[in-house]
Amino acid sequence: MASLAIDEFVENQCGVQLHELQEYEADIPRWCKGCGDHGVLSILQRLLYNEQVNPENVVTVSGIGCSSRLPHYLKTYGFHGIHGRALPISLGVALARPDLRVITAMGDGDCFSIGAGHWVHTLRYNPRIMAIVMDNEVYALTKNQVSPTSPAGAITNTTPYGAYLKGLNPLSVILGVTNVSFLAQSATWLPVHLEDTLRKAWHHRGMAFVRILTRCPVFMPASFGADGSVFPAIFLENPEGIPVNKGILRTAPTEAHDHRDLHAAQRMALREDGAPMGLLYWNPDLPSYEEVRRSHTKELDRAALISAMNAQLDKYAVQ
């Protein structure tokens, strides 16, 4: 009947319901003017919109920090956890619900300092989460303390005479971890490059780790060059990688890079003449932790559960 056909038509068309950009917007972001976190948020929103992801099927997990406020502003299911523990919480969500997608938003202190143990181990587990660190090289929310990534000499409230150590290079740590499967780097002042990077990460099979160089104009205005355009960067080029889009860094060099070669990636990570921008390492074949674990589990319905349970009890039965 005609009416049925129409119903069917509507269902077919609207089943693929179009999500509007504003569907990804929650509260008005409360970051400072000029804070790099704004850029990360809006690009994430654009990414989810462009990918037409149902926000109800995304869980955004974070720790504590300015950057970790992101779940309040990105309209998905959000879990704003405790400092340093975003990755275990994310892993829990991923293990429990492979039907959902997980975004983990962290700051440099959150992930690399207090969260360092989880950072190393979650990389090794390789769950399917998109983990982003908004690295502003400072503890911002707590008002200006040194971070592992703060450069040597950085003046902060806990290093008023300058940071004592060379900043930690998170890229080289990550590439030292067995089972790492995806590492990319971008910056908030390269919006197109950042969106391309996050898209690549979004489609990765396991844990996609993206370090995002992010300005904190309030507490670390000096980081990444006062004017972004002089920031020393090296764009990584590979047909399978992230399109080289230098934006404001037009004078930065481009280098061919084989992101499937871990040695090459490790060498690139250690470069001191510029920050590598793009895909440092990618192993698209490594199964995610959920895949590995779920390949061993048997799904039972409720009745079958009860009888399997009874079979277990039989082992302990008397008589």
Binding site: H72, Y77, I89, L300, V318, Q319
Partner: protein, 643 residues
């Protein structure tokens, strides 16, 4: 063959002890399983060496089991052992030193040491046995090693089954049943090994038949209800599966880990998994994430691991995320006595998290309860959107007990993950103003996107900073406990509803306390017992119950200062943990007697406390309520032997 003297007993406590690695534990487990299957009441408890491989032939190397066998169900490991099978005299000595043997104990010991080449060993062997005899015990020197060597080359891998054979004769066990069990035990080994063990079993039996002139008769008791036998950690594992937990995220720690081992064996067959995390913080984090995502997840740990989960307990309370944590308590503080029992984590469970983090705290008192409590815990966590801490302990963990086989039904399983659409704008913390309860929104649920945060938040889930909302959030989280408490019933008094003395306990001490109370009551003392399962919120009606006794005191396996100790008086005394909680709740002058012996209480120890207290209540001079074990004497007299 002459007829054997038949000694009829209501119960017997047997210990089988050897050097670590010689298989006394396997012997005991085999014997116990057969006894359970025959229908005896039973409690077994492990004797665990302190190290993985301590120097052999030392008291520190003693490994084995205690089996309490009875003609009725038993609830604890009992008092002094009646019969000991010792593979060497140092193993025997360790039990003498622990003061756990009856004066008239029957000792079966390997005769090989009597003629050992080392004069020192011969001497100490003789001295130790003489000591036993002096006190009134009897000793049977039996050719364990000699006989075993007839069957196998390495006596360390055979003595144990030969001894089971002897015990099978002594206690009239069903040999077919035993053989079945042995076959199951060695199913992964070679045919040859199995056959050797069966032969040893048979030869042991035959040796007993030929050389011993008596047999014990302990009736079995009839029950129509099917029984199971297992230890508490296995019960927690199977109970977790029955409760519908899908994930156990954990980090190894004694004495909790064996529960996870049991889960690791089977959980994948139930569509679940265990995840060994990098540490306890991550284990808790994974559990919070998975529970938030709607999948029931438990995390199992012990003292030091609890310490590390403190922050996540607070997050679960604040975000109202269901989170079940099992704490199999061990000896503390700090690393303490990792393999030994204590009930030292009650106050941590109640008050460990900074700020006001209301939690539900419950404690199983039997191995059967270890099974069922997991369903209770899951349901409470989900209904009240709160952390639930289950306080088990090392005694329940490794003790074995018979109990009614659980009848499984889908009721215990959680409903499927709620993915029903909700109207847009549905609040994630839509507190009922009276009960504080609210419906949880679960990721994936259409219409429910919202943020969950550990910061102070309004009903919308959004962060707010004002006085009113902070007071409100606290109020709602706390109110849930009031709502739960109103649904609880007062605990049932064991014994008379009123009288002179009420002994209050929690957790695994229940069996020993009730048995001690039984004995004292049999002697005409007016004493009752109370076990509290809901520790936070406390079960209602306690003040009223307490008011019906002249004196109320707790008996706990944790530390309190003793009356009469130097500097200790009403001002300075630090009470045991439940006593503190009860005093604050009821304002009744709840006294306490508590110890940290690293082993379960014997009923007789509690019995002595009761007698002393009764004497005091009746105005008789008997001020000390200490048991008079050797250690206690040493402590009071400042003897240096334990320095």
């Amino acid at each position: 063959m002459q007829a054997k003297r038949q000694i009829k007993l209501p119960e017997h406590i047997i210990e089988i002890v050897s050097d670590s690695g010689e298989g006394a534990q396997k012997a005991a487990v085999t014997f116990a399983e057969a006894s359970a299957k025959m229908g005896n009441g039973l409690w077994t408890v492990e004797v665990i060496p302190s190290e993985i491989q301590p120097p052999p032939h030392t008291t520190g190397a003693t490994s084995g089991n205690r089996i309490r066998l009875a003609d009725r169900p038993v609830s604890n490991a009992g008092d002094y052992a009646n019969l000991v099978v010792a593979f060497n005299e140092m193993a025997l000595l360790s039990r003498i030193e622990a003061e756990v043997l009856a004066d008239d104990v029957v000792v079966l010991i390997d005769s090989i040491w009597a003629n050992h080449e080392d004069a020192e060993i011969r001497k100490q062997y003789k001295e130790i046995l003489d000591g036993i005899r002096e006190k009134g015990g009897s000793v049977y020197e039996i050719p364990m090693e000699e006989e075993t060597l007839q069957v196998v080359e390495d006596p360390y891998r055979g003595k144990n089954m030969w001894c089971v054979g002897v015990l099978a004769f002594l206690y009239k066990r069903d040999m077919d049943l035993l053989k079945e069990i042995v076959a199951k035990t060695f199913r992964k080994k070679s045919e040859e090994v199995l056959e050797q063990n069966i032969t040893l079993l048979e030869r042991g039996y035959a040796w007993g038949e030929k050389n011993l002139d008596f047999q014990y008769v302990i009736d079995v008791f009839a029950t129509d209800i099917p029984q199971v036998v297992m230890n508490g950690n296995t019960a927690i594992a199977l109970g977790s599966i029955a409760a519908g937990f899908k994930i156990c995220s954990m980090y190894p720690i004694t004495p909790a880990t064996s529960a996870s081992h049991a889960l690791a064996e089977v959980m994948e067959q139930f569509g679940g998994m265990i995840h060994q995390a990098e540490d306890e913080i991550a284990a808790a984090g994974v559990a919070v994430g998975a529970n938030y995502a709607g999948v029931p997840t438990v995390t199992i740990t012990s003292g030091p691991g609890m310490a590390l989960k403190t922050e996540f307990q607070g997050l679960a309370a604040m975000t109202e995320t269901p989170l079940v944590i099992v704490d199999v308590q061990r000896g503390g503080p700090s690393t303490g006595l990792p393999t030994k029992i204590e009930q030292g984590d009650l106050l941590h469970a109640l008050y460990g998290s900074p700020g006001d983090s209301p939690k539900i705290v419950i404690s199983p008192s039997t191995i059967e309860e270890c099974f069922h409590i997991m369903t209770t815990a899951r349901k409470l966590a989900e209904e009240f959107r709160a952390p639930v801490i289950v306080l088990s302990d090392a005694n329940l963990a490794t003790g074995q007990q018979l109990f009614n086989r659980p009848v499984l039904s889908e009721d215990s399983l959680p409903p499927p993950i709620d993915q029903n659409p909700v109207p847009a704008g549905t609040l994630p913390f839509d507190w009922d103003e009276t009960t504080g309860l609210s419906r949880r929104l679960i990721p994936g649920q259409p219409g429910g996107t919202s943020v969950t945060t550990g910061l102070n938040h309004a009903r919308t889930g959004k962060v707010v900073y004002d006085y009113g909302s902070n007071q409100m959030g606290h109020r709602m989280r706390s109110r849930k406990l009031a709502a739960l408490k109103q649904a609880l019933t007062p605990p049932r008094v064991y014994g008379d509803e009123e009288g002179d003395l009420l002994i209050v306990g929690w957790g695994s001490t229940r069996g020993a306390i009730e048995e001690a109370v039984d004995r004292a009551r049999a002697q005409g003392h007016s004493v009752s017992a109370l076990n509290i399962q809901f520790l936070h919120p406390l079960q209602p009606g306690l003040k009223e119950i307490f008011s019906r006794y002249r004196k109320v005191m707790t008996v706990e396996l944790n530390y309190s200062d003793d009356w009469g100790d130097p500097l200790i008086d009403e001002e300075t005394r630090r009470y045991s943990q439940l006593a503190i909680v009860l005093r604050a709740q009821t304002l009744v002058d709840v006294d306490c007697w508590s110890r940290v012996p690293g082993r379960p209480f014997m009923p007789v120890e509690i019995y002595r406390v009761i007698i002393a207290e009764m004497a005091k209540l009746n105005g008789q001079v008997r001020p000390q309520t200490k048991t008079d074990t050797k250690q206690e004497r040493e402590i009071s007299h400042g003897v240096a032997s334990y320095r």
